[in-house]
Amino acid sequence: MAWTGKILRVDLTAGTCTSEPLNMQWAADYLGQRGLATKYLMSEIDPKVDPLSPENKMIMATGPLTGTSASTGGRYSVITKGELTGAIACSNSGGFFGNEMKNAGWDMIIFEGKSDKLVYLLIQDDKAELIDAAQYKGASCWDTEEGIKAKHGDAFIRVASIGGAGENGVKYACIINDMDRAAGRSGVGTVMGSKNLKAVAIRGTLGVKVKDRERFATAVAAGKQVLADNPVTGTGLPTYGTQVLMNVINESGALPTRNHKDIQFEDAHDISGEAMHEPRKSDGKPNLVSNAACFACTIACQRVSTIDRTHYTVKDRPEYHKASGGLEYEAAWSLGAACGVNDLDALTFANFLCNEHGIDPITFGATLAAAMELYEMGVINDENTGGVKLNFGSAEALTTMVEQTCKSQGFGVELGLGSKRLCEKYGKPELSMGVKGQEFPAYDGRGIQGIGLAYATSNRGACHLRGYTIASEILGIPVKTDPLETDGKAGLVKAFQDATAAFDSAGICIFSSFAWTLDDVAPQIDAACEGDWSADRLLELGERIWNMERQFNLAAGFTGADDNLPARLLKDAAKTGPAKGKVSGLETMLPEYYQLRGWSADGVPTPETLTKFGL
């Protein structure tokens, strides 16, 4: 119950699809999705494997609550060794694809090997087959999804696909489902492309069962009420989406600007959630058309937007006049403040293209920001960029380069490397703003100290979604802590990381945790699944998962020295705002963090810690 108890194993080398039972002991120890799929990956691949080799595997996994009426219960994740980072990758996506996998009767799909030609996987309940995808070679995610639905004459098929970027080896290609939902980070789409797998198309009609229907209904209703009553999930996110944060983080002095040279953006308002509501001059309509929900989600934070039809990017391109997935905060920051660009329509256009062709807008924007700094320093010039002036603040540079990167043309080929490889290539590795090869998201570790530690220790490289201390340090959830203070942040980061690993393994969205604690989640899992599920058990499971991911990375060759931040955050003091004069206090937080984790001084889990979690 809640689990379907079945895994689909797809051997792309042999071209076969086989069903096998889910390991229920592992499900009891790792729950589902992120935790359970990582357990499978660790038991089946050598962490030292080349991410793009046939020996790497890629797992699409649901959680036990995926496909149920639990609010936000539509999530699935892609787990693999990431090409961008070489670390464990786990990218989580919403939309409706996760439910479809579960409704077709599968907890997970494990892809192994490499197909000798481009194929897509079609699943119709218990029937699965690999189909030639030659006709979709180079096609965008949008054209692939629409093409597969039309070909099979079924608008209810759900599709997750890569665009040309994933086929061409852009290091941060996404997997896009439902047109604008993404398993976005760490290059999971690049791994999919290396396997010659273009898309996964699913139609599920079997239904998802829970253990105790009545108790589940009660727990779900209680959970929905908590989300409705909370100001963030009940009001802020539906109204402004994650973009509610743009002005807040800017005022907090933690909005990385121009490749982290500044930490406040003078034009933050122009690219904010509030600006998306304001009528534009040309037609009097706002950028924002509506909010929207992923499967079963009662928060509905998604933005649906249009681009001003008179804007230079689309005035002659009517195909971009329709509404589509609009700017979330992270993308608005990376395409906007990180590059110093204040043109909301240019940002929206760039975001559309990232969705259409399947690249991660966070890494793209951050990589372009690094390239802009290289350009302004004279390290690269017009010869490198094909004559495009890569100055901070140039909307034209943004929209030209996003298209070149999506289509692997011109200087876009180099931007497709990500900032670490790009900056190393030009002899300026210190200009790459990230950790373990993955670029920072939209918060500066000088202005918000805890998130700096969370970035440095995140198992998938710099990431806000592995321990979102912003909730506490800025929003006061569950309790307010001082963003400029380092004391107590080691414990805060650990608590967020462990709880998040449990949320990410359940099939629900981490945004629910603005309102829910594990005390709200446990009754839903307990009513849905076999076994006795308490908040304490989930927290322990989360910590087990964190240590397992750490073991993967250590075995892959990472060490404690990789739990670091770029010199800019450690040495260059913030110039303005509440954090003026501050650098990251990582060196004081990290030793305490290792100690709380039960790790050695160089960041390795002690034998006692491993024994405690059965690892």
Partner: protein, 158 residues
């Protein structure tokens, strides 16, 4: 008092909570394909529209049924008798709105039955896009909104 489902698509986020509640309430687990309320998405316009049976007074489905399997319950809902339905699907052809459909699992047709007067979709909807209201006054809120617009600024202040 007869009550009707009142759907305000403007308030719908496309979350499927109504769809899930419907299939669960009728014993089909969480299975969007077995729900008799569906949410249609017009992605290019950012619109989400829940749609289900409106319980016609002179119901095409009921008139077309050769076995008199469709009757009216105390709430005015047109209800299919599983015992009498033979799965001929004539009602599905007769319904102009497509809101009665054949279910291959049971070999019968399924349609909205208003859950015996306490619709599950209404309770599940997080934005009150679906409400269960007095049929006679179902559209009064819309009238009120237009009345406000029509009369705006025309009355003398007192």
């Amino acid at each position: 008092m007869q009550k009707s489902l009142h759907i305000s698509a403007d308030d719908c986020t496309g979350c499927y909570q109504c769809v899930l509640a419907c299939s669960d309430e009728h014993g089909y687990d969480f299975n969007p394909m077995k729900s008799v309320i569906q949410v249609f998405k017009f992605e290019d316009e950012g619109r989400y529209v829940p749609y289900t049976c409106t319980q016609c007074d002179e119901a095409w489905c009921q008139k077309a049924c050769p076995t008199d399997a469709i009757s009216v319950d105390a709430n005015g809902a047109k209800v299919v008798s599983e015992a009498l339905c033979v799965g001929c699907k004539v009602c599905t052809i007769a319904c102009p709105f497509g809101t009665i459909n054949y279910n291959a699992d049971s070999g019968k047709v399924i349609k909205c039955d208003l859950c015996g007067g306490d619709p599950a979709c209404v309770k599940a909807c997080p934005t009150s896009a679906i409400t269960f209201v007095n049929s006679d006054t179902a559209q009064f809120d819309k009238m009120r909104a237009w009345a406000g617009k029509t009369d705006a600024g025309t009355q003398q202040s007192n």
